[in-house]
C-alpha cells in the first residue's frame, strides 16, 4: 500500500514537470499566434505610402502619418515632463527621506498609483487639463496625462537603480568631504544612470501603447493634419504652438480602424499594429541592451 502510494507520488512529480512546462509555454504560444496573425494580416499593407498618408474614407488610400507624428510629439513632451519629476522624487525617497509616517504614506501612495487603471488617469486629465486648465484636446493635455500615468513607474524603477549602488561608494565620497548632493550628483547618479535609463525607457514603451486615457481626454480619432512644426524658419527657430494643436496617436488610429466593419480597415489596423509593435519592441530591446551592457562592465 505505501509502496503504491510512493509510486503514485513519484508519477505525479514527473507529470507535473510536463504540466508546468506546458503552462509556462501557453503565454508564449499565444504570443506567437498573435504575431503570426498580425503579420499575415498586415504586412502586405505596409509601404511608404502607408507611412506618409493621412487617414481616409478609402482604406487603400489611408495611412498613419498623423498618428505616428502625434505619437512622437506626445512621447517627447511626456518624457520632458515625467523624467525630471520622477527621478527627483526617487532620489528624495531613496537618498534623503527619513523613515517616518510621511515617507511611508508617500511610498504606499506611489505603489497604489502604479495600480490605478489607466482610464482613471484619463478622467483626471479630462477634468484637470482639458477642462479646468482649458488646454482643450491638445498635445500638451495628452502628454501631461501620460506623464502622470508613467510617473509612478519611473519613480519605482529609479529607486531600484539607486538601491543597487552600494553604500560604500557614498561613504567613500563623504569621507573625502563631499556634501550629500555632491555625492549624489558625482557618484551615485552616474553609477545608477544605466539602470535609470532602462527603467524610464520601459516606462515610455508602456506609455506609447496607452489608448484609453487619451480617448478619455477626447483625442480625436480622425485627424488629417499635423501639429505645427517645432522648427521654424524665423528667429528663434523653435515653434511650440504645436503643443496646443489637436492630435491623434497610433493606438487610437488602430482602435478606430478595428472598430470599422469593412475588411480593408482591419488590414490597415494590422499594418498600424506592426508599426506600433516595432517601436515598442525596439524601445524594449534598447532598454535590455543598456542593462546588459552595463551590468557586465561594473563590478563592485
Amino acid at each position: 500500500m505505501t509502496d503504491m502510494k510512493r509510486r503514485m507520488s513519484k508519477w505525479a512529480d514527473k507529470s507535473f514537470f510536463t504540466v508546468g512546462l506546458a503552462a509556462t509555454f501557453v503565454g508564449l504560444a499565444v504570443l506567437f499566434a498573435l504575431m503570426l496573425d498580425i503579420l499575415s494580416d498586415g504586412v502586405g499593407r505596409l509601404s511608404l505610402q502607408f507611412l506618409t498618408s493621412f487617414p481616409s474614407r478609402h482604406p487603400e488610400a489611408a495611412g498613419v502619418l498623423s498618428a505616428w507624428v502625434g505619437t512622437v510629439w506626445v512621447m517627447a513632451i511626456t518624457g520632458v515632463i515625467a523624467f525630471p519629476i520622477g527621478i527627483m522624487a526617487a532620489i528624495y525617497l531613496e537618498e534623503y527621506a527619513k523613515k517616518n509616517y510621511l515617507t511611508g504614506f508617500i511610498e504606499i501612495n506611489i505603489a497604489n498609483l502604479a495600480g490605478v487603471p489607466s482610464i482613471i488617469y484619463g478622467l483626471l486629465g479630462l477634468g484637470l487639463f482639458v477642462r479646468a486648465l482649458a488646454l482643450e484636446r491638445s498635445v500638451l493635455s495628452g502628454a501631461a496625462t501620460l506623464a502622470i500615468l508613467v510617473l509612478p513607474i519611473i519613480i519605482l524603477s529609479t529607486r531600484e537603480a539607486l538601491k543597487a549602488i552600494p553604500s560604500s561608494i557614498r561613504d567613500a565620497s563623504y569621507a573625502l568631504g563631499a556634501t550629500r548632493w555632491q555625492t549624489i550628483r558625482h557618484q551615485v547618479l552616474p553609477a545608477a544612470l544605466p539602470g535609470i535609463l532602462t527603467g524610464t525607457i520601459l516606462a515610455m514603451s508602456r506609455a506609447i501603447g496607452e489608448t484609453a486615457p487619451l480617448i478619455t481626454i477626447g483625442a480625436l480619432t480622425y485627424v488629417a493634419f499635423l501639429p505645427a512644426s517645432p522648427v521654424s524658419s524665423q528667429f528663434p527657430f523653435i515653434n511650440l504652438t504645436g503643443l496646443f494643436d489637436a492630435f491623434t496617436v497610433l493606438p487610437i488610429q488602430i482602435f478606430n480602424w478595428v472598430s470599422r466593419p469593412q475588411k480593408g480597415f482591419s488590414t490597415n489596423a494590422a499594418a498600424a499594429i506592426i508599426v506600433l509593435l516595432a517601436i515598442t519592441f525596439l524601445m524594449n530591446a534598447v532598454a535590455v541592451w543598456i542593462r546588459h551592457r552595463y551590468q557586465k562592465k561594473i563590478r563592485w
Partner: protein, 295 residues
C-alpha cells in the same frame, strides 16, 4: 562659502522633496476630480437607483442609471480572465521556481515580459479578429461581440503578472524549509505543494489580487471585443459592456461638459477607482507581509 553650500544643499533637498510630494497631489487630484463630478451626478440621480436599478441607459431618451449591468460585465470578463490566469500563472510560477533549470528560467522570464509589453489595443484586435472567430468554430452560438473571447485574452495578458510576483515570493522561501521536507522523503511536487506554496501564500495571494485589479481596470480589450451593450447577465456568449468600456464609449462621442451624460463617466470612474483602490491596498499589504517574514 560654507553657508552658501549649505543653502544650496537645503534648496536641492527642498526641490527633491516637492517632487516626491507631487505624487500625493496626483492622488488628491484624482479624488478631487472624481468627487466633484460624481457629486454633481448624485444631485440629479439618487444613489439608491444608481446601486439597485438593473438598467443602464443614460444615452437613451428613457434614462436609467443603474450601474449593476456595467459591473456585471466587468465581473464576468474578470472572472473568465482569472479562470485562465490563476491556474496557468500559479503552475508556471511553481515550475519556474522549483523545477526549471536556471538556463531555461533565464530564457523564459524575459520572453514572458514581452507578453506584458504588448499594448492592450493589440490584444483587443487579437480577441475580436482571431480568438472570437476561432471560438465560433467550437461554439456556433457565440455572438461576434461577447465576454468569453476578451476574457480569455485578458487572462493570458495577466499570466505574467500572476506568475512573476508568485515566483518572487516562492523564491524568498528559505532553502532550509525545502531541505527539511526533502530529508523526510518528500518528492519535489510535495515540497512545492505542501511547503513552498503555503509559505509563500501571502505573496501568491497578493499576485492574484493584483491580477484581479488589472482585469477590472482593463479597457481596450473589452471596448473592442465585448460589445457596447450593458446587460445584466452571466452568459459569456452575448455582447455586454464593462464599466471601462462605457467610459470609452461616451468619450468617443461629443458629450458637452456639465451635462448629466458627461457626469456619468465620472460616477462610473469613481466606482471603478474605489474597487481597484481596495484591491491594490490589500495586495500591497499582503506583499509587504511576505517580504517582512523572510527578509
Amino acid at each position: 562659502m560654507r553657508g552658501s553650500i549649505r543653502l544650496k544643499e537645503r534648496a536641492i533637498e527642498g526641490a527633491l522633496f516637492l517632487s516626491a510630494l507631487f505624487s500625493v497631489f496626483i492622488t488628491l487630484g484624482i479624488i478631487a476630480v472624481l468627487v466633484f463630478e460624481t457629486y454633481g451626478f448624485f444631485k440629479e440621480v439618487s444613489i439608491i437607483d444608481f446601486l439597485t436599478d438593473t438598467q443602464w441607459t443614460p444615452l437613451f431618451s428613457e434614462k436609467h442609471f443603474g450601474i449593476l449591468p456595467l459591473f456585471a460585465g466587468t465581473f464576468l470578463t474578470t472572472a473568465i480572465a482569472m479562470l485562465v490566469a490563476l491556474p496557468v500563472g500559479l503552475i508556471s510560477a511553481i515550475f519556474l521556481s522549483e523545477y526549471a533549470p536556471d538556463g531555461l528560467r533565464a530564457i523564459i522570464k524575459p520572453m514572458l515580459e514581452v507578453l506584458a509589453a504588448v499594448p492592450t489595443v493589440v490584444y483587443g484586435y487579437f480577441a475580436l479578429l482571431f480568438v472570437t472567430p476561432l471560438l465560433q468554430n467550437i461554439i456556433p452560438s457565440l455572438s461576434g461581440f461577447n465576454a468569453l473571447s476578451p476574457g480569455i485574452v485578458m487572462g493570458i495578458m495577466i499570466i505574467p503578472i500572476v506568475s512573476s510576483l508568485s515566483e518572487d515570493s516562492m523564491h524568498a522561501v528559505p532553502m532550509g524549509l525545502r531541505e527539511g521536507a526533502y530529508a523526510l522523503g518528500a518528492t519535489k511536487l510535495q515540497v512545492a505543494m505542501r511547503v513552498v506554496v503555503p509559505s509563500a501564500f501571502s505573496g501568491i495571494a497578493a499576485s492574484f489580487i493584483l491580477g484581479i485589479s488589472r482585469a477590472v481596470g482593463e479597457t481596450m480589450v473589452v471596448a473592442i471585443a465585448a460589445g457596447l451593450q450593458p446587460r445584466l447577465t452571466v452568459n459569456p456568449l452575448v455582447p455586454i459592456e464593462t464599466v471601462t468600456a462605457y467610459i470609452v464609449q461616451v468619450s468617443l462621442g461629443d458629450t458637452p461638459a456639465g451635462t448629466l451624460e458627461y457626469r456619468t463617466i465620472f460616477a462610473a470612474g469613481m466606482s471603478l477607482f474605489v474597487v481597484t483602490f481596495a484591491l491594490n491596498i490589500l495586495s500591497y499589504l499582503l506583499a509587504k507581509r511576505f517580504r517582512e517574514v523572510y527578509d
